[in-house]
Amino acid sequence: MADQASEFIRQSQAMAEQSWSQWMRYLQQAAGQPASPFAGFGAPGMPGMTGMPGMAASSAPMSDMLERGLSGISSYLEWMQRAANAQASPPGMDWQASVKDFLGGAAQPFAQAFSGIDSTAAQGFVQQWQAWLAAASQAGTTDWRAPAYMPGFGLHREQQAQQQALVAAMMESAEQQRRYQALILKANAQGLERLQDKLADHVEPGRQLESLKALYDLWVDAAEEAYAEIALSDEFREVYGAMVNAQMRERQLVQQHLEDLCRQLGLPTRSEIDSLGRRLQEVRRELRAMEGGGGAAAGELAALRAELQALKRSQHGAAAPAPVAPAAADAAPAKPKRKAKATGTRPVAQATRKKSAGKKAGSAKSPAKASKTGKPAGKTATKPATGSSAPSKDSRKRTALRTRRAAAAVKSSGASRRSLVSPGIPAPHRARRK
């Protein structure tokens, strides 16, 4: 029996290795990859880091495939191999002891359930600091290992302070990463416990697992359940936030350091480009506001202009009602009275509520309903309440005052101007603009 098991293990290992080697040879040939397909990969989560020292491009499809997709297959092959090895336990052993041995042994296949999180897949967060470390080192930060704070003096005081802040940030980032990994390990351990519980449900004849794939799927279920429980814990939320925040602090300091160097070399920086972009976007908003007259103040201005037109017409004896620009309705939609709410949704596949059986969708106040009457809803909502063709003197004064205020608001307030995005009708010339 022992000889049989040994032979089985030897064959399965040979097959798995042969299969994987074949894949790698083929894919390396197709992609022109170096001998070690996973060597020199960048951080998949951080494409911006490609080109940094020690970071190779990771966007090539074949590289991505090798790194993410096929590493999963590779892990599964390894898993099957270990699982098959672990199956070769002495006959007659109590199943719980056997499973305990299986799960806890040196060759057990479940030890690294979430290894992907802190190896390849999560490099975007948890390993980028290493690249920044290399970048900072090459950029002149040489004494990064010194943990103790040392006051700086003289001409290089600021540089020294920046470097020390960066070192502190790196250490903080590493600490938060350690806490994160500890939780991942905890999830892994709890996944194994859950797997044992799930296996206990398969003891009865007829429910036993008869294939490696069935065991693998059960393990994935158990591991994901354990991970989800931890990922939704308060502790994980705190650690996750702290880890990301620490890494952003670290990256921020690296950026500052590099920007200082760029300024010294007369090179444009990201901050300068950002400033230009921000100003450009503000100008675009202002332009839109001027073109389309959108926004609250401009909408009010349009309404008041219409009202003035009505006043002028009334002074000339024309008693037509004042038209209201769509922008006015757009800027200040009438707030309908809140209706009684249902206490909850019905736990059925489809639940519909209507105001009343005899009433169609949308109330009399509904814009949708209003539009069916032939009048734009906005007109209905914002039509002047008086409808008078001969406003009083006080009314004319108030109108003039509001017009001046609205115009002033459009001209003066930077904050208001930023919000004045045109809801206007797209002009034909705009239709094909890139």
Binding site: I73, G344, Q350, S419
Partner: protein, 354 residues
Amino acid sequence: MDTPLRIDPAEALAEINRFQRKLAAGLQNLPGLGEPEYANTPRELVYAEDKLKVWHFTGSRPTARTPVLIVYALVNTVWMTDLQADRSLVRNLLEQGEDVYLIDWGYPDGADRWLTLDDYLNGYLDRCVDAVRHRHGLDAINLLGICQGGAFSLCYTAMHPDKVKNLITMVTPVDFHTPDNMLSHWVQQLDVDRFVDVMGNVPAALMNWVYLTLKPLRLNQQKYVGLVEILDNPAELENFLRMERWIFDSPDQAGEAFRQFIKDFYQGNKLVRHSLEIGGRPVDLGLIQQPVLNIYAQQDHLVPPDASRALGKHIGTQDYTEIAFKGGHIGIYVSGRAQREVPPAIHRWLRARD
């Protein structure tokens, strides 16, 4: 004594052997496959601005009088709605008689880093709606918002009620603080100001990594183990690769809009607290009086059902309909069940209100 594991060593060896053969078959099939195409249902460009495009789907004679504009999320691309010929929400809606438009937000770059939610909703989206309205000479059109695009559609309808006739939301988060919302849980203590200040635009690959870590073993390993099972099936393999393309060919997120969305929606949960403002305009779901159809997925791990169902408690309209779809966040567009159930349900609901 019985044991839960009854794996015969010889059978295990055969299983590994079978797996190896499947793997070897893939060597023959992979090189012949180019970039898998989406369904590419015939369409015409009707409006473009900066990087966004509004497409009108052609090739069928719509029976609906009011067109429907699909508002997709900023994350991933809109082509999930037209993934492949036999898995296309767009194509099925056309077959039902709907007149379908769609906004493709494009791929933001550094020039778009300062786009805010105000720019997206009261700017881009509003002009897209106007473009469709004026093509049809209508005061109001139908909106179909998907995921984050559903939240956008709700906000837009609250701010521009006169331009929306009927509103459909699909797998749309409304209450961002339900206890099973893992994404929300993770960002609660994120210093999003520093994050955006440092990152600028948020890289798509980083977003994808976060999504993968929601179910790390399933999405990083088990899925690819499953791939080996279909390597010798060219059609299935092409479908798999098409989905891979859609998942990972995704846009970066404009920094300012991301900052606002995380702060106001995920952290502040302002949509259900009635305290949201976009561009200085209050966004109150209670103001929405249009008919609303809310479709959610019962196994949605990105937008939990309770996060979507919360809409019923906060929406102002009395004409509110919920449909629960038996599937996940993606399955609601691409599964066989979805093709049979979702487009007809949308069409029936719209037809009753056209």
